[in-house]
């Protein structure tokens, strides 16, 4: 059976967006300001703002995005509670890694030429009810948007 050209094409690598949360700092100050660092795996593709809360992730239509969280101290807990973004661009959904209780969020970019699309991430931090939102919005950028 012939395999179509599309079937043989290499699969594009998902773009990982990692949030590094200083749980002790954020619980002590009540804010993620200076306690949150964002990184993505697409610096070579044009992402900017690596290591800051104002990450600009360069995307194209069909790109799969994966949001994960790590904490500065391995004993501390932080998780993504919600991601709010224009649903016409992508619809983030929460999933769990198989055989674990660790969650990740994923979405597929629906359009090219999205310009600059800011979004918000809300984190649950620590063992209590503390929820905090990104102090400045990160964004997805696509098409001819300026950085």
């Amino acid at each position: 059976m012939d395999v179509s050209e599309q079937d043989r094409a290499p699969v594009r690598r998902p773009i990982s967006i990692t949030s590094i949360v200083d749980c002790v700092g954020s619980l002590a100050t009540g804010t993620l300001h200076e306690n949150l660092y964002l990184l993505d795996s697409n610096r070579a593709g044009g992402s900017t703002g690596q290591g800051t809360p104002a990450l600009r992730t360069r995307v194209s239509r069909g790109d799969r995005l994966l949001w994960t969280v790590i904490t500065l101290e391995c004993e501390a807990f932080a998780a993504i509670e919600d991601i709010r973004i224009d649903t016409g661009v992508c619809r983030p959904e929460r999933h769990t890694y198989p055989d674990s209780d660790v969650a990740y969020w994923t979405a597929t970019v629906a359009r090219d030429d999205i310009g600059l699309v800011p979004y918000e991430i809300t984190f649950r931090i620590g063992p209590g009810e503390a929820s905090m939102t990104t102090p400045v919005p990160p964004a997805l950028i696509g098409g001819t948007s300026p950085d």
Binding site: V3, D7, R8, A9, P10, V11, R12, R13, P14, S16, T18, I20, D22, V24, G25, E34, Y37, L39, D40, S41, R43, A44, Q50, G51, T52, L66, T68, V69, I70, T71, L72, E73, C74, H95, Y97, P98, D99, S100, V102, Y104, T106
Partner: protein, 269 residues
């Protein structure tokens, strides 16, 4: 003992392997920002290590540094170190159960009635097999690829390029450089730097009696997927990256009485 000091080393593995360097592909974050660390989440972190001393100048308490290495192109550090191995074992169990059911039914329960097609499906789902550059010795969690959502990657040899996969976690194999040579830090490795046990993390006690800024070098081993005559293998690649410590020492102060380094339990002037 004071709070343990943590340094997270995040490596953009895909780009580091392509460029052949950690420069520009490494981001360091510590939990000492409020103590004066500079360059958070950059490749040029200067970690503040604030020690304390008694009236006789002796070091009052230990400062302990811990390094933890992660990868932007891998499943997160929050998953257990043996997650990949565990997923391969679970996956193999399910494949064996499928074969068992096929055998028990004499092939009658194959999806399209052809037992050979079902066997081929199970074989493909077994996963893309990977060897190691070390020869026949196989590491259970590395002989199959896992993707970024924890699923075992099926064998699809018809596709061009390598399957999308979660990179094996980078392993810190050595801490060296000025701070070690001058015995400002005394590093110790917990675990073993090979793919089976994953070299958990490094710790170092700090001699804060000699304030100053000292550099240190991290040697990290990444795994690159390469294709050869015998199929795909993992090839280890070692790269190094420098960072710095800014060691200071201040007089100890009693948090309850406010007393300083004098002999009386009264607040210092």
């Amino acid at each position: 003992m004071s709070q343990q000091l943590a340094i997270i080393v995040m490596i953009d593995t895909e780009n580091a392997l392509e460029a052949g360097t950690l420069r520009g592909n490494t981001y360091l974050v510590d939990n000492m920002r409020r103590l004066g660390s500079r360059g958070e989440c950059s490749g040029d972190l200067v970690s503040a290590v604030v020690g304390g001393h008694w009236s006789n100048g002796g070091q009052a308490q230990e400062q302990i540094l811990n390094w933890l290495v992660g990868s932007l192109g891998s499943v997160p550090l929050t998953l257990p170190r043996n997650y990949h191995s565990h997923r391969v074992h679970r996956h193999d169990s399910r494949s064996l159960q499928s074969l068992g059911r096929l055998a028990d039914a004499g092939g009658a329960n194959a999806e399209d009635g052809d037992p050979l097609t079902e066997v081929r499906r199970i074989h493909r789902e077994f996963g893309a097999r990977i060897g190691t550059a070390r020869g026949r010795h196989r590491h259970a969690h590395c002989d199959r690829l896992m993707d970024l959502t924890g699923r075992i990657v099926p064998e699809e040899s018809s596709r061009r390029g390598d399957p999308v996969h979660s990179h094996p976690a980078p392993v810190l194999v050595d801490l060296c450089g000025e701070a070690v040579e001058k015995k400002v830090i005394h590093p110790a490795q917990y675990g073993s730097p090979d793919q089976d046990t994953d070299g958990w993390y490094w710790s170092a006690a700090v001699d804060t009696s000699r304030p100053g800024t000292y550099s240190y070098t991290m040697v990290v081993e990444l795994q690159q997927l390469v294709r050869g005559p015998a199929g795909r293998t993992w090839r280890p690649r070692r790269m190094s990256h420098k960072a710095r410590l800014n060691v200071t020492s201040t007089p100890m102060r009693n948090g309850f009485t406010g007393a300083g380094i004098g002999y009386l339990p009264v607040p210092s002037p």
